[in-house]
């Protein structure tokens, strides 16, 4: 770490239902962590495979469309962020997604050159 070691930088990676993205954004804003990166992804987990159809013939689709949200935090308690995502992305059905928390070594802000927790 370049500057202060008293604050850890964490990345919260969440894979959630695309239609829950709006709720998750709102939930993250409420806990003070509005910055995020969103990617369209495909994946599979506990959600059962579904069938697609092309000219009357079915084929199995076992990779489901999801969105991956990456949210890097330093000052905000990471548990709050995880809880906010979990509550706002929850439906109770298989396929709600997963949340992972990863340690981040360092961060640099491109505009200012600041590094460490300040950059987050």
């Amino acid at each position: 770490m370049s500057e202060s070691d008293d604050q850890d930088i964490k990345m919260v990676v969440a894979v959630v239902r695309p239609d829950k993205l709006g709720d998750v954004k709102e939930g993250l804003a409420e806990v003070g962590a509005p910055s995020l990166t969103v990617t369209n992804v495909s994946g599979r987990g506990s959600q059962p495979a579904k069938t697609g159809q092309w000219r009357g013939e079915e084929y199995v689709v076992d990779l489901h469309q999801k969105v991956k949200i990456e949210c890097v935090v330093a000052e905000i308690p990471v548990d709050d962020v995880v809880d906010a995502i979990r509550e706002s992305a929850h439906t109770g059905e298989p396929g709600d997604g997963k949340i992972f928390v990863i340690d981040v070594d360092d961060a640099v802000q491109v505009r200012t050159g600041d590094s460490g927790p300040e950059a987050v």
Binding site: G52, Q53, W54, R55, G56, E57, E58, Y59
Partner: protein, 433 residues
């Protein structure tokens, strides 16, 4: 020329020019329909084939095809380049029909045919195959070949068999000889579905084609001949519209019955099959007949597609045989049964059958010989690695949907040379020394 005669000619030829432009616009429909039904890695290849079908085909039809048609039809070598004025309007009018037939084949051989093989086939279709078909029928100076054989004339008003039946049979034959796309069939013979990349383009193309089809069918009737031809124009417009609608509904109903779902692509393909079905007979068919022809042409589509796919094991990518081939044959054969006036059913049916067999047999034989020669000389298919990579990059050096790499000099990850000719981006070969 008397003023009335001059006005009549001006009226009819203005109409012919306008419908020729409408029929030309069907190429936009074919391009979108086929682009939507192929994978994203083969879209530019499909679009290029559609552009070159028109470009190569129309030039060849001008220089050679029109001459062959007139020669084989008993009129001597009368190629279009020695015509003038009205003759060139007549030539363009014939050419847009010819190119509609030619472009059907590209949908059947999508995703694996070599561009040079496809273009060479288009050359031969525009120079010989189609001209011989019209020499038997429309371009014959005397009675057509069917009338010579059976004593009854062959009825194909706008090209249900002559254009669409021919195109569908040619496509099926070429696809059969070419073999299926990689991964289309498993070792045990069961079929895998390879979805196309854009339902949106497929449906847009369908409706553009349907729009151009009014030129194709209604435009086959003149406006004025010993009086305003309102009876014929109105009947063709009505039967064309009703058959189109019933084709979509017929395919939707059968797809619904077979799978419990109304399949969008079947509805789109069925709409076209309904149009193909009525194209041979829009000027004679009764009101109820238009419903029957369109409905049956749509209903046969899911059944014939399954038969081609699962029994014949032919990879007809864009379903050109069920849409153009079997629907065209069906409509042509139904002529005496659905006609509004009195038609001697037995003799008319025999004439229709003989016409279908002659045109189908000639098209199948000529197409089979040409593609077999391509296959034997190793010119029919792209290599396995090019097919896996996609024909856009390997045949054309382009990507239809590029993601990254714009801007400055592109550097490849291993520091090697960037190749855009498609020749050496092969994963299985080590060309980046």
């Amino acid at each position: 020329m008397a003023p009335l005669q001059a006005s009549t000619e001006a009226l009819n030829y203005t109409w012919v020019l306008v419908v020729s432009f409408l029929i030309f616009f069907m190429h936009a429909g074919f391009a979108m329909l086929e682009a939507g039904q192929v994978r994203s890695k083969n879209v530019a290849n499909q679009l290029t084939k559609n552009l070159l079908t028109w470009s190569v085909g129309v030039a060849v039809f001008f220089l050679i095809g029109s001459g062959i048609a007139s020669l084989a039809g008993g009129g001597g070598w009368g190629a279009a380049y020695s015509a003038s004025g009205l003759g060139w309007i007549d030539w363009l009018y014939g050419a847009v029909f010819a190119m509609t037939g030619a472009t059907i084949v590209s949908g059947a051989v999508a995703g694996r045919a070599k561009l040079r093989a496809y273009v060479a086939y288009t050359f031969l279709l525009a120079a010989v195959i189609y001209p011989v078909v019209i020499a038997m029928t429309w371009s014959s100076t005397g009675p057509g070949l069917v009338e010579v054989i059976t004593g009854t004339a062959f009825t194909d008003f706008a090209g249900g068999m002559i254009v669409h039946g021919m195109g569908g049979i040619a496509g099926l034959t070429a696809a059969a000889i070419l073999g299926p796309r990689l991964g289309r069939y498993n070792d045990d013979g069961s079929a895998n579905v390879i979805p196309g990349h854009s339902m949106t383009f497929a449906v847009l193309g369908t409706l553009i084609l349907a729009f151009g089809w009014y030129g194709f069918n209604v435009g086959t009737s003149a406006i004025y001949s010993d009086g305003f031809l309102a009876e014929q124009l109105g009947r063709v417009a009505m039967t064309t519209t009703i058959a189109m609608a019933c084709g979509a509904m017929g395919a939707a109903a059968v797809a619904w019955y077979k799978t419990g779902k109304v399949d969008t692509l079947y509805v789109a393909n069925g709409l076209l099959a309904g149009l193909v079905g009525i194209t041979a007979i829009p000027h004679t068919t009764s009101v109820w007949g238009a419903f029957v022809v369109g409905g049956l042409a749509g209903a046969q589509l899911p059944i014939v597609f399954s038969f081609v796919e699962k029994t014949l094991k032919i990879d007809d990518v864009c379903a050109v045989f069920p849409v153009h081939g079997s629907a065209g044959v069906l409509g042509t054969l139904l002529y005496p049964f659905v006609a509004a006036g009195n038609v001697a059913i037995a003799s008319a049916f025999i004439a229709q059958l003989v016409g279908v067999v002659l045109i189908g047999g000639w098209t199948l034989t000529a197409t089979a010989i040409i593609w077999y020669v391509f296959k034997m000389t190793g010119q029919a298919r792209v290599s396995r690695s090019h097919e896996q990579e996609g024909l856009d990059v390997s045949e054309h050096g382009v990507e239809t949907y590029p993601e990254f790499g714009s801007g400055q000099d592109t550097v490849v990850a291993d520091g090697g040379e960037v190749r855009t000719d498609g020749g050496t981006v092969d994963m299985t070969e080590d060309d980046n020394e």
